[in-house]
């Protein structure tokens, strides 16, 4: 049941246990127990909403920063990642394959704030070779969901 349950929650974390039970062909109690188990094991780390920030009028700015760093002997990229991870401004952080090492999503109130964070906090870190900052202008799709418009159904209303 785990994979199917996770898939459903990934699409819509607000489904009730009763709805999930119907969809999975099981009981409400079994769903509740499974969710509890997944939370306890840390497989489900949390639940969040997908928000159209434009409409919500949150005036935050968001940037993606590509960081190149020199890995440390014995601990590779983990040490610097753990440091960066602690900054509140950092929304997400991933180790990447390819031409740079860490991808960091940073949120702040103003462009300047984000730029300052990059130049004063990130660039100054030991081992950072270079940073490249790009600001997010518009989000079209997030977690499989179209942000601005509904997906269009090109099919007719009724057909046999």
């Amino acid at each position: 049941m785990m994979n199917e349950l996770l898939e459903l929650l990934r699409q819509n974390a607000r489904l009730t246990n009763a709805q999930l039970a119907d969809m999975l062909g099981t009981t409400e109690a079994a769903v509740a127990a499974e969710i509890h188990r997944l939370e306890a094991k840390g497989i489900i780390k949390g639940y969040s909403a997908i928000i159209n920030d434009e409409l919500a009028k949150t005036s935050e700015v968001e940037a993606i920063i590509e960081l190149r760093v020199t890995p440390k002997r014995d601990c590779g990229f983990d040490e610097i990642a753990r440091t960066i991870m602690m900054y509140e401004e950092v929304e997400s952080l991933s180790l990447m394959s390819g031409s740079y090492d860490l991808s960091i999503c940073v949120k702040g109130n103003t462009l300047k704030e984000v730029a300052m964070f990059v130049s004063q906090r990130l660039s100054a870190l030991d081992g950072v070779v270079s940073t490249a900052t790009s600001f997010v202008l518009k989000r079209y799709k997030e977690k499989g969901i179209f942000i601005e418009e509904e997906e269009k159904d090109e099919r007719g209303l009724i057909c046999p």
Partner: protein
Amino acid sequence: MNYEKILSDRVRNMKPSGIRKFFDLAAQMDDVISLGVGEPDFQTPWSIRKTAINVLERKRIVYTANSGLMELRESISRYLKRKYNLTYDGAHEIIVTVGGSEAIDIAIRGLINPGDEVLIVEPSFVCYAPIVEMTCGVPVPIPTKEENKFKLTAQELREKITDKTKLLILPFPNNPTGGIMTREDLEAIAEVLRGTDIMVLSDEIYSEMTYGRKHCSIAELDGMRERTLVVNGFSKAFAMTGWRLGYLCGPEPVIAQMVKIHQYAIMSSPTVSQYAAIEALENCDDEVQHMVKEYNVRRRYLVEAFNRIGLTCFEPEGAFYVFPCIRSTGLTSEEFCSQLLEQKQVAVVPGNAFGESGEGFVRVSYAYSLKHLMEAVKRIEAFISERNQ
């Protein structure tokens, strides 16, 4: 011009599809949530589209052999063996058609003489009876019942057989009921047919959409291959409705005749689609499985939801439809559908559009996202509870 006089009587006498009227009504309204279509909501898997793009870039798009690309027919042959243990020779026993629709058309036209009776299991897809009538055959409906999970029983079949019976149309997994026939169910039907001259047209277009058990084709049973034509296609399993591709399989002497109709009416099926179809059959099992899994989640949700609302709904084991009974509302199928459309802007299809025995039911398609289905259920629930006040 007096067109009434000019047109063929047979065409003028054809009934317009029962769905048409309802479609016109729905088309005039805004904000309609439709659960009315019989085609997948999924996009055709990428590797299939990619194959088509490559073909467009690199090949000349010319006619193929009348029966279809040999490579595709061989691929169909392997696929049918692997999936349903059917044995058809790609060179002589398979025609690649313009959808399952054309396969049905040429099969009926190829078999029926004026006056021949064609047994049509109902409720079912809308095209069989009109095609039979066009060939001056006589459609004989065999109504199936909810208490039998809309299966065809040997008893029901036996009662309708006369010495004029030429063909049985066996459409399972069924549109609109979602009913299926298991191997045991089919064995009982085969028992009635063996030793007769009755042919079977087995429309298996939904064969990949079964939930809980694998599809069984009647052609696999002892003594049935020689009297069966199998229709299948790409529309449903691979979400390829617009590619217009299907196939007809049967014994060589029959297929050799039917290919003549196809040759004169169609020449050859769409070439780009044929190349893409090879990719579908050879490399898309995972994609199909993914879609079927998703349909299954929706199916379970809808069955529970309708039963909770009080529109009792037997558990369909195939296709992508549920077929709840609406008799508890005191409305006819058409009244139910038009009132639901007018009051709540939800479109479902009246069961009687698929044959008289569909009266008292509505067809609800779950070829829609869960989000869409949940909104529709909310509206239907409100419709029912307002009626009950």
